[in-house]
Symmetry: C2
Subunit: 371 residues, 2 copies
């Protein structure tokens, strides 16, 4: 019966959307008897999609990872997110081709109303760019945390503090946030009776999760803002408070909010509180402002700005001496692919792909680069 097939997909969708379903609830949602639900669960198992079951109070069924990938049943919003994510993944070394294939699969069946949303979000989004890879995270841990957030289940986990000590925490998770090169969990800490942000790479979850808890009002401004407040100021090795000779609104427009906070001083100048892992990166952020500013500390930054001053001065000192012999070889063009009026690019010199695992893209004159 075709209804059997349809019902199996709906059952799979329910099991993917939430963790635990008592058989009676499933029977009610699917409009069949409980015996049929048990048969359906058996059918999913025969198809290779393992469904675990728990008897007794708070028992029920849950879908777990097996050896085969089951069909993924996404709602509209999730499908849009997946389409955007797969485009992002298309730029990731190691999965370009697979991401492209998956994106093609998804987009060929994406309803047109969702396609328009993908287009709109794609052009107006900018994820926080990581400057280097973060610590390794077990995706199973992320999965447990993500499911607990979604299902409003309490978590217990061992948390390793920055000084190496460890302790057990009991929290009500709210949201996972990818911030820079790390993942964070924003949760209500039951022991401290307040919101806290936890580094996911320091969490070792304990099982089982639960019990359930009623959702509480989220922290002010949402999880990402909450993490931004805590992380941006604390995560950097170097910090600076810089007096910028421009109105705060102008400065705010020129920086990524992930890198700093702007405080108005007198309407014409403001203070930028920012940071970075190295003085060089910090100096780059300041340079990108393209505005006059004053720095009095930290000493490393002051030293580095002085070094840059000398370096830049030297860099252009030889301009009148060397003439234009070097730079006239660079031909400014219009847009990408335009060469001599041609709208696309022909074969160029050999350069390695943008693969961070292999950075050997040095070109010796006259011979191909890399392996």
């Amino acid at each position: 019966m075709l209804e059997t097939s349809a019902r199996l997909l709906r059952l799979l969708s329910l099991l993917q959307a939430r963790r635990d379903w008592p058989g009676a609830t499933l029977a009610d949602r699917l409009g069949v008897s409980e015996r049929t639900v048990r048969r359906d669960v058996d059918r999913l198992r025969e198809l290779g999609y393992p469904v675990e079951s728990t008897r007794g109070t708070d028992g029920g069924y849950r879908l777990v990872a097996g050896t085969a990938m089951p069909p993924l049943l996404l709602d509209d919003d999730e499908a849009v997110a997946a389409a955007i994510g797969l485009r992002a993944a298309a730029g990731v070394a190691g999965v370009e081709e697979a991401a492209e294939r998956a994106a093609a699969k998804l987009e060929q069946v994406l309803p047109s109303r969702l396609r328009r949303r993908v287009g709109a979000l794609q052009t107006h989004s900018e994820p926080v760019p990581p400057d280097r890879p973060g610590p390794a995270i077990d995706p199973a841990v992320l999965g447990v945390l993500a499911a607990a957030c979604r299902d409003h289940e309490r978590l217990r986990f061992d948390y390793r503090a920055h000084d190496g000590s460890s302790g057990v925490r009991i929290v009500e998770p709210y949201r996972l946030v990818s911030w820079g090169r790390r993942w964070y969990l924003v949760a209500w800490d039951t022991g401290r009776d307040d919101w806290r942000t936890f580094r996911v790479d320091r969490i070792a979850p304990r099982t089982p999760t639960g019990p359930r808890f009623p959702p509480r009002d989220p922290p002010e401004g949402g999880a990402a803002a909450y993490v931004a407040r805590g992380v941006s100021a604390a995560a950097w090795r170097h910090h600076a408070r810089v007096l910028v000779h421009a109105p705060a609104e102008v400065v705010a427009q020129r920086i990524n909010p992930a890198v700093g906070v702007v405080e108005d001083v007198d309407g014409r100048t403001c203070v930028l509180v920012t940071g970075a892992d190295t003085p060089n990166t910090l100096a780059v952020h300041l340079g990108l402002l393209d505005l006059d500013f004053e720095v009095t500390g930290p000493p490393e930054l002051v030293d580095h700005l002085r070094t840059l001053t000398v370096r830049y001065a030297r860099a252009v000192a030889g301009r009148s001496r060397r003439g234009a012999a070097v730079d006239h070889q660079v031909e400014p063009h219009g847009e990408a692919g335009v060469v001599g009026g041609e709208p696309e690019h022909g074969p160029g010199e050999l350069v390695e792909a943008a693969d961070p695992a292999d950075r050997q893209h040095v070109r010796q004159p006259g011979r191909p680069v890399g392996r």
Copy 2:
């Protein structure tokens, strides 16, 4: 019959993996009669997943977008890419929650061998970061191009050159590449008998696609490298050839290959060919090298380096005059969330989330920021 359900999923999977399937081929793959395949196609249609059909030579069945999202059937590599992409999407404003939900759905069923791959790729990947949103692209266009790449179908499209003129091109598509803030199509141009790179936002595909063509050897180094060669040099408004006082290998290690090409000169110095959209960005990127260099052109760059020289000199001039009164307020900490020894962060000052659509994160002293 449970086999009917299983077969429907396999049929759906086949239809998602490739565009056109003659009925006889499907019958062969599924191990049933052609009549049964026609019944199965009807069943998919009744489930809400539209299957189009074409009669005659080169006819067959293809899955198209309907009003409902069908189950997504991903192979192992595609599932890994989707997991990575969804994590990337979790940082995109507007789809955080949906991406998190979709990620949780996927990761709860991801076989453990794939989870490990996700973890490994996640920590060692760095996509080319876009510095700002690219031109709007109709996702339907991307979908058509992606499918044509996958199915090795020729494309005909109207291509708008940079000067506004337009012409029809017939190509054999090879790969879509996300590069910086734009998408590119790498394809064999049948008219010019050579590889070309096309801006996707300038492509208006003509239908239908086809006929099929045998795959040819890809351009040297792969599609991303190919685009890198053409785009990096041509896409920027400003270019520079810079003499760097360091060995080429050292310089190559310090830059992202997306931003430049390094040519050895004499083993101790080398030339960096790079570019950017503004002289400021170019100048600041040169500063990131943390190496001495010489620049003779273009004049805008030289002027701007002089401007930066003055700005930086002024920025640090007041250090001895102003004392440490400003910067001692910044308390360097250990890792994220550590405040006074606490391993996680309590409620901090109010700052807007990292939402590029709303950049008002200016903080007036004493009052909350933003709306």
